[in-house]
Amino acid sequence: MQKVDDAQAQIEFDRRVADEQKIEPTDWMPDDYRKNLIRQMSQHAHSEVIGMQPEGNWITRAPSLRRKAILLAKVQDEGGHGLYLYSATETLGITRSEMIEALQTRKAKYASIFNYPTLNWADIGAVGWLVDGAAIVNQIALQRTSYGPYSRAMIRICKEESFHQRQGYELIYAMAKGSPEQKEMAQDALNRFWWPSLMMFGPHDSDSAHSAKSMQWKIKRETNDVLRQRFIDQTVPQIEVLGLEMPDPEIKWNEEKGQYDSGEINWQEFYEVINGNGPCNHQRIKHHLKAHKDGEWVREAVRAYAEKQQAKKAANVA
């Protein structure tokens, strides 16, 4: 009986996805669709939260009060995105604490880019300009994702991210046009963040484990390689405006294709970092664990207080 129902529900689900209708939390959905979404959305939420660390690394050292205010507001936005995405993921029947446990036990991943360190102030510009820039290319496509709560989260988050991207570019522009030392920092930041930003789009389509299924379900709307090329094409002219050297000597305009050619990504590095061997993988998880552990007594106190209040109420009623 169950099977017949499921088969019918599957037909209805497929029809709705094909018709570009959104799937909502109370709708029937295939188990694998749900699992795939939980994986992708929680990974996205974790990325927002872990990303607060490399950016937070410079809050106390921002070189002007204006820059400090912008950075503080930005990092706070990222925390808000994390919160929003955790809530959206909870609609799929998983709790935030389960997701956080998966992060802390390294079962869930987050964007590998945050396993690279922010070493000079221009890195904060590069994170906004390149990392958020790459994220936006991804997320604009995701605004049309088939799962309603995720799609709505993306629409909202994209608005703030595009503001972040502009502030990052404005920061690095000021440095690229500043003193020789500042220009050197800007170049250094671009060189270090360029390749990891390209890696953010994931492996080539032919090597991507989840791509085909996600495309079929319209969770993903465009392929890794298409999105990566779009990012390169929009970013190269921005590098020219900055007057910085190209971080990849093979970048060249291809008249025939109407897009930029570029060098091959070091995929060995990509997999090394994903598998835990980036410069900051250990630091990021340890930091998260420490904050979590340090806060345990606070959460314990909140629970105890709520229970006491509950008991008092019950006693009053009796």
Binding site: V49, M52, Q53, G56, I59, T60, R61, A62, P63, S64, L65, R66, R67, K68, A69, L72, A73, V75, Q76, G79, G80, G82, L83, Y86, W121, L171, A174, M175, G178, S179, E181, Q182, H287, K290, A291, D294, G295, E296, W297, V298, R299, E300, A301, V302, R303, A304, Y305, K308
Partner: protein, 253 residues
């Protein structure tokens, strides 16, 4: 600057220093809080204090009339030239300490800024009017936190009590009136901190009594901030905060 302008300048820089230093401390919670919600909330409050600092510095720079910027004032003075009250610079310690300090200063700023809205200096009054709204909101957050931590577990209560012991030594300075601030009373630019003290004591005592916590009061114990005599903590904060401006002087960022 004439004498009154000099007094006003020192007054404004003191208020700005209070805010920038507390903002720095609060921002240290970013990605370190007990809940993601607290990372966001404490960053938000840090941002409020930073905004306050900028308004006071900008006005101070204008009064000084030497074409200096907010950053020139904030980033080029050493610890002996910083004039914040000491309570703002103490390290964040644990969440109980941070929230109890917030509760103490939130009550203070709600009362103090409300008075300062009446300042005869319209810029000071406008900054106070904007800031008091923020502080009222901050207090709405710090009160339930102190209640929960005081009555939650034995551990959370003992952490609140430890924080209270330390902070009691520093709250008295909030009500200290240096000479230059006193002189601004005649023209109704500043307000008398000493007059706020009984209300502050009463408010704090009543609130803490609600959780059966005794409060000795805000008798002056440790002071020195307004004269640039700080705890050892401030120098480290400033060397971190000012590092880029000191390493590459005169650049625009």
């Amino acid at each position: 600057m004439n004498q009154e302008q000099k007094n006003l300048y020192r007054f404004l820089v003191g208020l700005a220093d209070d805010s920038v230093v507390l903002s720095h401390r609060l921002s240290e919670w970013c990605s370190n809080g007990p809940y993601l919600e607290e990372d966001i909330a404490l960053s938000n409050i840090a941002l409020d204090y930073l905004g306050r600092a900028r308004m006071f510095y900008q006005y101070a720079a204008q009064i000084e009339g030497k074409d200096r910027s907010e950053d020139d004032i904030a980033y080029s003075r050493n610890e002996r030239e910083y004039t914040n009250l000491l309570i703002h610079e103490l390290p964040i310690n644990d969440f109980a300490f941070t929230m109890l300090r917030q509760f103490f200063v939130d009550v203070f700023y709600c009362q103090y800024l409300e008075q300062l809205c009446q300042s005869s200096d319209s810029t000071v009054a406008a900054i106070a009017a904007k800031s008091v709204k923020e502080s009222r909101y901050h207090l709405k957050r710090s009160e339930p936190w102190i209640r929960q931590l005081s009555e939650g577990t034995d551990e959370s209560r003992s952490r609140v009590l430890d924080a209270k012991t330390e902070l009691e030594s520093f709250v008295g300075e909030l009500f200290l009136m240096p000479e230059w601030e006193k002189s601004l009373l005649e023209s109704d630019i500043a307000v008398d901190r000493e007059l706020i003290k009984p209300d502050w004591d009463q408010y704090v005592r009543e609130f803490l009594t609600g959780s059966k916590i005794e409060f000795a009061g805000s008798e002056l114990k440790i002071s020195g901030g307004r004269n640039g005599v700080h705890t050892e903590f401030l120098g480290h904060m400033l060397s971190e905060m000012q590092f880029l401006q000191r390493a590459y002087p005169g650049l625009k960022w």
